[in-house]
């Protein structure tokens, strides 16, 4: 134990802020999605309400809030209400376990006539030694929300959407997990913070037991595992049920899939769940393959020293560093989110058998081959030969 009031309250605030971060990115993304789709399809998009259509979101929120509440007759009422709530949980929990910035180190200080010890606050909801396994486990629970929604709606379209979603999620989870094994072999850890620390500085690797440094490339995972990164990103698309994998809600065949019967705020919660999944996927991509919260070539200590050069105290410099690096990570995340939106409005949807073929016959063998080759290479490269 040993936690005091200050530490506990900071932790509670942290968890609240991270949840709100996930919820608050949704309006922004909806706006980007609308304007972006309009831009891609050579239209205007919403541009009447406010500058650049920015306050369209407020109008949307009002619309969502004031829609009529209803439950389909012969639907399962409890499950019908529970499903949207459960849709929020996996995204929020997974996002909370990803480090969003460098840890904040607070020196001992005096407040209210008491002295408070030195602290170390990680910029993440909770620190976990098994980070990535936990994230995979939690995000695999996302299937329940869809299944419950489909079942409780008492509607054939919803049911088919839910079944499709589930089959898809289970199939692609295999490819997702296997695509990750390669990068885990290279980092040799499950902990996100250690992965980010590994990716500092210029590209350096062992060749025949000797260290080789490539000064013009950052030490990012993408240069070790390009195939793994592509496979992971594709599998993430399938996990988030976005186009080209949006079979569960294929509006041409299934009306709207598992959320056909949902409206108003409940619908909005499904949206938040989906965008939360996208956010987690982007954060994972950034953390695994693109250096996490670090700037290329610049280590966390260097940023800290830079801010300390302005005459800040150690605590203040650490806080400023954490927020600056947070901005860096969010820039990367937003780039990936834009890719999600870009792909959605560019590619057509798969047919169902194409989807299954891609998952089982293409991505799984490639991921397996990637794992085996990486394992062999890691063993060969890191052994001293001469």
């Amino acid at each position: 134990m040993g936690a005091d009031i200050f530490e506990i309250s900071i932790n509670i605030i942290k968890i609240l802020v991270i949840f709100l971060l996930m919820v608050q990115i949704v309006p922004l993304l909806v706006w980007v999605e609308r304007r972006g789709s309009a831009f891609i399809q050579n239209r205007f998009g919403p541009n009447r309400v406010g500058p650049l259509g920015l306050t369209q979101l407020l109008a949307d929120a009002v619309k969502f809030l004031f829609k009529e509440e209803f439950v389909p007759s012969k639907g399962k009422k409890f499950l019908f209400y529970a499903a949207p709530v459960i849709a929020l949980v996996p995204g929020a929990l997974a996002f909370a376990s990803i480090p969003l910035s460098a840890p904040i180190l607070v020196d001992a200080f005096e407040m209210f006539g008491k002295s408070w010890g030195p602290y170390r606050f990680a910029f993440q909801g909770f620190e976990m030694g098994v980070g990535i396994v936990f994230v995979l486990g939690i995000s695999s629970l996302g299937a329940y929300a869809l299944l419950m929604a489909g079942w409780a709606s008492n509607n054939k379209y919803s049911m088919y959407g839910a079944l499709r979603a589930c089959a898809q999620m289970i199939s692609y989870e295999l490819a997702l997990g296997l695509a990750l094994v390669g990068i885990l072999l290279i980092y040799g850890t499950f902990d996100f913070a250690e992965m980010v620390a590994y990716q500092e500085g210029p590209l350096s690797f062992f060749f025949m037991g000797k260290e080789v440094i490539v000064p013009f490339l950052p030490n990012w995972g993408i240069f070790y595992q390009p195939l793994g990164a592509v496979l992971l990103f594709c599998a993430m698309f399938a996990e988030t049920n976005r186009t080209p994998f949006d079979l569960p809600e294929a509006e041409a065949e299934l009306v709207a899939g598992y959320h056909t019967e949902y409206g108003g705020l409940k619908m909005l919660m499904f949206y938040i769940g989906e965008y939360g999944h996208m956010l987690v996927a982007s954060a994972l991509m950034a953390t695994f393959y693109f250096g996490g919260y670090n700037l290329p070539f610049i280590s966390t200590e260097a940023v800290n020293a830079f801010f300390a050069g302005f005459g800040f105290s150690a605590t203040k410099a650490s806080i400023v560093t954490a927020f600056a690096l947070h901005v860096v990570l969010f820039t990367k995340i937003l780039l990936f989110l834009w890719v999600f939106i870009w792909v959605r409005w560019t590619l057509p949807r798969f047919r169902y058998d194409q989807l299954m073929d891609l998952g089982w016959k293409t991505m799984l063998p490639w991921a397996l081959a990637n794992t085996i080759i990486t394992a062999a290479l890691v063993l060969l490269m890191r052994t001293e030969w001469l």
Partner: protein, 169 residues
């Protein structure tokens, strides 16, 4: 492990397990079983086995139970709700008693052995140690499991194969 956490988690676990057995709708049973497994994952986490907890979430709650729920939905059983329990109520009372007897018999044997207190005993292992043990001490079991999984995959496909399948060719 603090007693408050343990007691609350175990009460929830027992309630969910009972609901799994007693719910008439098989789908509700499956959902309660998923909840029970998530709860058990937290107990594992409290027992300093975070990797096992995460695997429990991923394999049991995420894959196995989703498969159960999916199969139940595919069946779409309507008439089963009236006759969920086999046999007549008198026999079921005897079945309940025999389960209780089983519980009593094992636990009475259990309490005649010495106890181990929790403080200081729980040592946290890192995942590297787990992997090393798995690939040295238990390598034969691991290989055997791989073979078993292959057999199971072939068997499951052979059992549920249909003529023609979903693909045209």
């Amino acid at each position: 492990m603090s007693p408050t956490i343990f007691y609350s988690l175990s009460i929830v676990l027992v309630v969910f397990s009972l609901l799994v057995v007693l719910c008439k709708n098989p789908l509700h049973s499956a959902l309660f079983l998923a909840l029970a497994m998530i709860d058990l994952a937290f107990i594992f986490f409290e027992l300093k086995a975070p990797f096992i907890a995460a695997v429990q979430l991923m394999v049991y709650a995420g894959a196995v139970m989703v498969m159960f729920v999916m199969v139940l939905m595919l069946f779409d059983l309507k008439e089963d709700e009236e006759s969920a329990f086999s046999g007549n109520p008198v026999i079921n009372v005897f079945k309940f008693l025999s389960a209780g007897l089983l519980c009593w018999a094992i636990s009475s044997k259990l309490f005649s052995y010495g106890d181990v207190a929790g403080l200081g005993a729980g040592k946290e292992f890192d995942i590297k140690a787990l992997g090393t043990t798995l690939y040295t001490k238990y390598i034969f079991a691991f290989e055997a499991l791989g073979l078993l999984l292959l057999l199971i995959a072939v068997g499951a496909v052979a059992l549920s194969r249909t003529k023609g399948g979903t693909h045209d060719s």
